[in-house]
């Protein structure tokens, strides 16, 4: 079992603290990474294809090519994150050897293990993991994740799932704060999460690691919405480079993350952005096409 107060865990959470209030952008090459950095991204996420393309093209989605990641790491000075498949601890070991700044054990890639997530305590690089509810978030933290993000529905351009997930996590945390000790034992059973983490959340009213949002953010308004609901920063996947004017949209979403509480500034940030990425109606998608149900 990992230790929240250990030095190594605090260093991992420390970088997540530095990313708060910012925008982490998906990029597939150095050119996109440069556009993201110049727009004010606080980090980039290196991957082989953005989620919208993975969805369209199908096939097995894996860790990005080493050459692409190295090129991105050489090009930008902001932190570089990279995705590994769920349970694929050897992709993660390779990313650790490469020296990326954060690993996303991500449902956007094709899972490598249908039962086990990576034992993240055993790595020197911090991990971020997706979650749809509090139980899932606490299981990932128990495995050593130093940052949680909502899963949303990646590549959909539809904010509805990210909203559902952040609302669920926040509501479930609020609920814990009013329960007595014996009720928390029962709740730990329901959440399928370790009691000591359930007790921590009941006492503090928040997750023991930063809580970001991802999966469907396509506009400045989307970013502001999830931050109003309690997300401390946002990940934008396909939303930037699948829009008609990536530079303008990237700048606008950076401004929106800072001004999530200022409608006048959000209005300014929302002007003249061209077309957002095409969206999908998640409610009409067959279960087999959902990415959020990968992992548990």
């Amino acid at each position: 079992m990992f230790e929240l107060k250990s030095e190594q865990f605090r260093v991992k959470v420390g970088l997540a603290e530095m990313l708060k209030g910012g925008v982490i952008m998906d990029v597939t090459d150095a050119k996109q990474a440069k556009i993201a950095e110049d727009a004010g991204a606080s980090a980039v996420m290196a991957l082989e294809r953005v989620p919208a393309d993975i969805r369209k093209e199908g096939g097995v989605a894996r860790m990005a090519s080493i050459a692409k990641m190295e090129e991105i790491m050489r090009t930008v000075t902001i932190p570089v994150m990279a995705k590994a498949r769920i349970g694929h601890f050897m992709e993660a070991r390779i990313l650790e050897a490469l020296g990326v700044d954060y690993i996303d054990e991500s449902e956007v890639l094709t899972p490598a293990d249908e039962e086990h997530h990576i034992d993240k305590t055993d790595f020197r690089i911090p991990f971020v993991c997706g979650a749809r509810n509090l139980g899932e978030a606490l299981r990932r933290i128990a495995e050593g994740a130093a940052m949680i993000r909502t899963k949303g529905e990646a590549g959909s351009g539809n904010i509805v799932e990210a909203v559902r997930h952040i609302r669920t996590i926040v509501k479930e945390m609020k609920h814990l704060t009013i329960l007595g000790r014996e009720e928390l034992v029962h709740e730990a059973k329901n959440l399928q999460a370790p009691l000591e983490l359930v007790e921590w959340v009941a006492r503090e009213g928040k997750l023991p690691v930063p809580n970001f949002s991802a999966g469907g953010i396509a506009t400045p308004a989307d970013a502001a919405l999830v931050m109003q609901l309690g997300a401390e920063a946002v990940f934008v996947g396909s939303g930037i480079f699948k829009s008609s004017d990536p530079t303008a949209r990237a700048c606008a979403i950076v401004k929106a993350a800072k001004n999530f509480n200022n409608p006048e500034k959000l209005l300014e940030a929302s002007r003249d952005l061209g077309d957002a990425m095409p969206g999908l109606d998640v409610a009409k998608m067959p279960e087999s096409e959902l990415l959020q149900t990968r992992g548990w």
Partner: protein, 194 residues
């Protein structure tokens, strides 16, 4: 120290951790998101985060002049990215800065996240005399290194020989993150300067 109004620049980064630390240290912290808020403040903290992101937002929203002007009258305390923004020169790569402190700073000088660390450092006796005795726990996250300290600068702590806590007139910078520890002495020292 009660009643001192200290702003924490909340463009991006760990401003919330600074707000909490200042509150524990007995100040009245305010998250600052609009330039107009500066007039009511006794001092300002520039938090950790990504200096390129903060710089971008400062340019988008016209903060540079307002902060330079504020810094000519009132104390600023910068940690990590905040220290980079306050420096006179920034390297690796060169970038614009407020130039409020006569120091030269190299970004990401220890390396990437894998080189981030928590360590203990022995502060200068003057720091201990002005606050309380004892080592400082220093959290370095993709930290910069202060490569040059101008004539007016006083080094209050070093790590591996490099300055990590520097005071110059009314201003203070740290390349580590006292806001991520339970030790309030660095924040208390800043509050003493207001």
């Amino acid at each position: 120290m009660g009643g001192k109004k200290v702003g924490v620049l909340a463009l991006q980064g760990d401003f919330e951790a600074h707000r909490a630390a200042l509150e524990r240290a007995g100040a009245e912290p305010v998250l600052v998101r609009e330039r107009e808020q500066l007039t009511a403040l006794d001092g300002l903290v520039l938090p950790g985060g990504e200096s390129t992101t903060m710089l971008k937002l400062m340019r988008y929203e016209g903060w540079m002049e307002a902060l330079e002007e504020f810094g000519r009258r009132k104390p600023l305390f910068g940690t990590c990215a905040g220290a980079i923004l306050m420096a006179r020169e920034v390297s690796s790569p060169a970038q614009e800065s407020l130039g409020l402190m006569d120091i030269g700073v190299e970004r990401n000088a220890y390396g990437r996240q894998i080189d981030s660390r928590v360590t203990e450092i022995a502060p200068d006796p003057d720091f201990e005399r002005r606050t309380a005795p004892g080592k400082l726990e220093a959290v370095f996250i993709r930290a910069p290194i202060i490569r040059r300290v101008g004539a007016g600068g006083k080094v209050l702590a070093r790590y591996q020989g490099d300055p990590v806590l520097v005071e110059q007139d009314r201003h203070l910078v740290a390349t580590f993150h006292p806001e991520l520890t339970g030790d309030l002495r660095v924040h208390e020292l800043f509050l003493e300067k207001l």
